[in-house]
Amino acid sequence: MTPAASLSSASSAFGALLVLAVIVPLCGLVPMLLCAPRRVEQVALLLLGLGGLIVGAIAVRVAATGAALDDVIGGWAPPLGMALRADGLSVVMLVMTAVVVVATGLFARTDRAAPTSAMPPAFWMLLMGLWSALNLVFVAQDLFSLYVALELLTFAAVPLVCLDGSRKTLDAALRYLLFALFGSVLYLLATALLYGAYGTLDLPQLAQHVRASGTPEPALVLALALMSVGMAAKAALFPLHLWLPPAHAGAPAAASALLSALVIKAPIYLLVRIWCDLAGPPLAAAGAPLLAIMGAGAVWLCGVMALRQGRLKLLIAYSTAAQIGYLFLMFPLAGIAGAAPWETIAWTGGALQLVSHAFSKAAMFMAAGLIAEALGHDRIADFGGLGRILPVSVFAFGLGGLSLMGLPPSGGFVAKVMLLTAAVQQERWWIAGVILAGGLLAGGYVLRVVVPALFRTGGAVAVAQVSPRRQGVALGLALVAVVLGFVPLQPIGFLAIGRAALIGSAP
């Protein structure tokens, strides 16, 4: 079996930007490990700017040319070598990551007024590792590189959970690590099987092989099952969400924002690649209902659990578990006969849901951290009068919540309308029902926080000052989620850039 000619066998101009996006944060680790601990933060902030510029350049380049950016490492084309590639969807992920990472960096900066609240140097190094790993997940085309990227991501994310070193967070971190490793090895096993069956690890080439051969190999079937479950475990998709609530709720605010907004999106992005690129339409159609059922379970059960929480951070954590459920409703909706997934409105809706959840959730975790800092606790029952103490934080939380509830104007609203439209057009009423019910539950748990904060009197007493800058960062992210509500209610062409070329002619 000769491998089909790969479309990504040559680097495109400016392809080196992809490598830079991955290695620049890593290069930052070198000065960070050699300089004095108090300088680490400054180095990190510098690198945040540099990395942001690189991602911006990638976005501009892809938008200007309307074509994906390719880079072949060392000039060794797949299958022997490995390639990086940024298509429309990856660019959106890269930009989302850059915005949230930079915002988190600004949020976590040491306050001159309150130097005791500084994050330890480890935080900044882990942030760099995390960013590099995320960028790699979004541009790598090689299944094994993706495995390494996922592990890198896990190693950066897990210690963020237990930066405070308390027994509770250490316990949460260990549980997170072990379950994430469980997911990773399943993915690795799948990678091995795919190599054994097709002799390449390059996703586009694998996709072409799968489409070229008639009946799928048994190895492909098992690999898809292993990868799906492995990634679901890493994404904390219901019913495999055991590790998420304690880990995301226990971490410091800046870390929670990263974990909830970005880290779980990496396995979800891979699931999209696996099912939309690799599997091929017949298998994708068979697997999609299962994914959607898990997503529906997440929306329902984790939504109710969020409603039941007494602590704000746990509420937000459960809300994350609920919100990612929506993303899995996308799979059956994007698989329409006669259209490539990326041409459907569900594809755009799913991507938009992913991105707007990232911004709104990061804003909400930051706001929750500030609230906990100001009040010394995060018991929702004692939030009466909070709106007067921390108006900006409550506003940021509410704006973020707007997106979760799917109310206009917000990215969440547009995403919900698109997914609903797809469900209606295909007459998948149960999916429409899940989306609507999820919106009600989200409304319930968001308002459970906002209403006492704004309308109850008494209760909340500020024990500490919070920095206006941090509040501003949270508000800025929430506003980004709102501004996303202005994208047109149609499939967005940018998200389809470079995808048709990826797997050859559309089915």
């Binding site: 108090r38 005791t116 094994f144 308390s166 250490l170 260990l174 690590l177 490793l181 469980f182 090895v185």
Partner: protein, 115 residues
Amino acid sequence: MSGSFSLSVFGLAGAGLVAIGLFGLIVQGAAFRKILAFNLLGGGIFLLMGVIARRGAAAGFGGDPVPQALVITGIVVAFSATALAVALLLRLQDAGEQNSAAVDDRDRAARQGDA
């Protein structure tokens, strides 16, 4: 003939190791034993990759060098994961023995160290 037999034997052994590791990872209560089980599971997967590499013997090589190289990388990654998990476990052990005041002390020390 015997080559194909050996491949089957090692394939079964790899699959068996995977199953044993999975079983251990699920039913073992102690984190320490879960970490061991994770390594069994990883070992089984690597062995399967070895079988796949051996199947691809060609061009005068005893096996396909690509999966062999992947296994080397995989072993190092698995070791890193194990080391991190064990460090977390031991840290958890220490934290459990300390009382909460000690944890507060630790926080203060952390802040002073940073300032």
